[in-house]
């Protein structure tokens, strides 16, 4: 069965491109969210295998969303952070599978972290 993915990002153009790219590489994109609260709701409803989570979101930031997901019982998707900033600018972030720079997103890159 294909790996189900939730894409969380406040930029619609990135969400559209990422969906197209991942679907073409065999992933099942089950939903999108544009902010942290939306992401928490979507994870509860859709129970995706992977959450592709932007570091910077308009309400709660990506690492905080990841921490809340880790704390919630029964919800344990693999969280992968994305950012268009330099990885070194982000500092240490715990509780996630890994990090993919947005411009380097690909099915292979995602697969490597799971």
């Amino acid at each position: 069965m294909a790996t189900s993915v939730l894409i969380v990002d406040d930029h619609p153009s990135f969400r559209a491109s990422a969906r197209m790219l991942l679907e073409s590489e065999g992933f099942d994109v089950v939903g999108e969210a544009e902010d942290g609260e939306g992401a928490l709701v979507a994870v509860r409803e859709l129970k995706p295998d992977v959450v592709l989570l932007d570091v910077q979101l308009p309400d709660i930031d990506g690492p905080e969303v990841a921490a809340r997901l880790a704390a919630a019982n029964g919800l344990c998707p693999a969280v992968v952070l994305t950012s268009s900033r330099d990885l070194h600018d982000l500092g240490a972030i715990g509780g996630v599978r890994g990090f993919i720079p947005k411009s380097e997103l690909s099915g292979a890159a995602l697969e490597a972290l799971l």
Binding site: H11, S13, F14, M20, S24, S84, E104
Partner: protein
């Protein structure tokens, strides 16, 4: 002669005539014992109050003490009308016989500023006026000779039905309330005395002591009257009360003369001391010492900013009229240089002399204060400039990150996707590449927009006119551009003007729902006046919204000012005044 002068002379004539009338009434009263003593006492008290009051009124028309003093004199003379044998005059004199009591109370509480200082004081005085007029008047409908304990008195013309019991009760009640009022006033005076400093006490003591003595004696008289003391004792107390009462106006004169002497001496001392070049702030201390008013403040006028500052250059507001503090402006060669804030009673002409004498020292301190204020302003504007700069960098980073960078990221993804699809599905690859091309165009346009936000190239290349034309052309609504022709201005000024118009037009497009906007640019009095007006919904709040606030900060750095007129429904006008150097 001024109209006030004419009015005061008319009042003086009225007071003179009223005094003579009172004297005639007393002397022709057959029943009165020692009529000459009563007459002389009444006349001295009445004329003293009217005379000194009118004199003080003429000298300080803004201070009500003179008016109240003259009012006391008139009320006193009116009370003497009760000595008349003519029923109507007798009745009027009786009804208003205790009014002077209320005016004296008002005078004592309002001394020396001429204003009542608290709500309690205003209520006390109002109560006193009401008691001695409106409340007491109806009693005269029932007071006959018997009720007044005065068989030989003329007829009360208001008498409807004699009722001795009622009159006695009302009189006793009013006396009790009256004594209560007097005690409250005395408590207030004592409290005020305690709070006063040495300099203020010197001014308060003569009037307060005479005033307090008369209030006390009058209260004792009232109590004696109520307890049924004999006429002889009452007369002694009445005449004893008259002595301190007659002294009140003269004590007031002594106070004025003393204040004047203190100040005249102060001028001499100051001239000697200020020549020794006092250090910063010492001039104020010298003034406070010499004038016996430690609370005195010396404020310097900064003509540029049209504001007052203290010797450290900090902004200070003048006290509002009615605050109990007096303000004397000091001019030098017709120009305002400073203001003295002091006790309300003190100083008037003497301070002009002082201003002239200490003018040089004051001007020196003023320059010093001005310099300090300028330094503080520069420090402020430097930190504001830093803040504006930082905020702009933050905004740029955000715009770059959210705009062009995101488009380029998704382009990178799309390019990779297109490459993967190229062989299997060339049509899809072509569609993806088309989309990527559109993203690229959008990214380029956003970058251009950002670059313009950092610095519009057209402004440096072709000047403000051309830059404003570009802004007007790009705006999504018709913009009428009116500008006078002038030479090119320094770049910082042109840039500020450009951003005012740019931000204002952006706001018009976003929020105003306007059909038309107008941009006016003109030079006025060494300032560039930039005005953007629209016919939209109005209601813009300059304190709410980072755009306008940032603009105001940006202008403040170059000492410009931003005004926003935006009543709901009446369109918006954004106006900037930028000094052209």
């Amino acid at each position: 002669m001024t109209s006030l002068g004419r009015a005061l002379w008319a009042l003086a004539a009225a007071g003179f005539a009223m005094g003579l009338a009172a004297l005639a009434l007393i002397l022709t009263n057959d029943e009165l014992e020692a009529a000459a003593a009563w007459g002389a006492g009444t006349l001295v008290v009445g004329w003293s109050f009217v005379g000194v009051g009118l004199f003080a009124w003429a000298r300080r028309p803004d201070n009500r003490v003179g008016m109240l003093m003259a009012g006391t004199g008139f009320a006193w003379l009116l009370a003497a009308f009760s000595f008349s044998d003519v029923p109507l005059i007798f009745t009027v004199g009786q009804i208003f016989g205790s009014l002077f009591f209320a005016v004296v109370m008002h005078l004592l509480l309002a001394f020396p500023s001429g204003r009542l200082q608290s709500r309690l004081e205003r209520r006390l005085v109002l109560a006193a006026y009401l008691l001695t007029t409106v409340v007491i008047a109806p009693m005269w409908l029932f007071a006959d000779a018997e009720a007044l304990h005065c068989d030989s008195c003329p007829e009360n013309v208001l008498l409807v039905e004699p009722n001795e019991q009622l009159v006695t009760t009302v009189t006793s009640a009013l006396n009790i309330v009256g004594v209560g009022l007097v005690v409250t006033v005395l408590v207030i005076l004592v409290r005020r005395w305690r709070q006063a400093n040495a300099g203020q006490r010197r001014l308060l003591v003569p009037v307060y002591s005479a005033g307090a003595a008369v209030m006390l004696l009058l209260s004792v008289t009232v109590v004696l009257q109520a307890s049924g003391a004999d006429t002889w004792t009452l007369d002694v107390f009445w005449i004893a009360s008259m002595v301190p009462f007659a002294l009140v106006p003269y004590m007031f004169l002594v106070t004025l003369v003393r204040a004047r002497m203190i100040q005249t001496g102060a001028v001499g001392q100051l001239i000697a001391r200020v020549n020794e070049a006092p250090r910063r702030g010492e001039l104020r201390d010298e003034l406070a010492r010499a004038l016996g008013d430690p609370s005195i403040e010396l404020l310097y006028w900064l003509p540029d900013g049209e504001r007052f500052v203290d010797s450290r250059g900090h902004d200070v507001k003048l006290p509002a009229p009615g605050s109990g503090r007096g303000v004397t402006r000091i001019e030098r060669d017709g120009e305002l240089v400073a203001a003295l804030v002091h006790d309300a009673l003190s100083f008037d002409r003497e301070l002009d002399a002082l201003g002239a004498a200490a003018g040089m020292a004051i001007e020196n301190e003023r320059l010093d204060a001005e310099l300090r204020a300028k330094v503080a302003e520069l420090r402020d504007s430097r930190s504001r400039m830093l803040r504006v700069g930082l905020e702009e960098r933050r905004r740029l980073e955000r715009d770059l990150h959210d705009g062009a960078q995101q488009r380029l990221v998704s382009m990178a993804l799309n390019m990779r996707l297109a490459r993967d699809r190229m062989r299997d599905d060339p049509d899809a690859a072509e569609r993806i590449l088309d989309g990527a091309g559109a993203e690229l165009d959008a990214a380029l346009e956003e970058l251009r927009e950002l670059a313009r936000g950092i610095h519009p190239a057209v402004l440096s290349d072709r000047g403000l006119d051309a830059a404003l034309e570009t802004l007007a052309r790009r705006a999504p609504l018709p913009v009428e551009l009116n500008r006078e022709s002038y030479e090119r201005l320094p770049e910082s000024i042109e840039l500020a003007a450009y951003f005012v118009v740019s931000e204002a037009l952006t706001n018009v497009a976003k929020y105003a729902d306007a059909s038309h906007a107008q941009v006016n640019v003109a030079r006025r009095n060494g300032k560039l006046l930039v005005e953007v007006t629209d016919d939209g919904v109005g209601g813009a709040d300059p304190d709410n919204g980072t755009g306008l606030r940032g603009l105001a900060d940006r202008l403040a750095v170059i000492e410009g000012r931003l005004e926003v007129d935006s009543s709901p429904g009446a369109g918006t006008t954004i106006r900037a005044r930028i000094p052209c150097g």
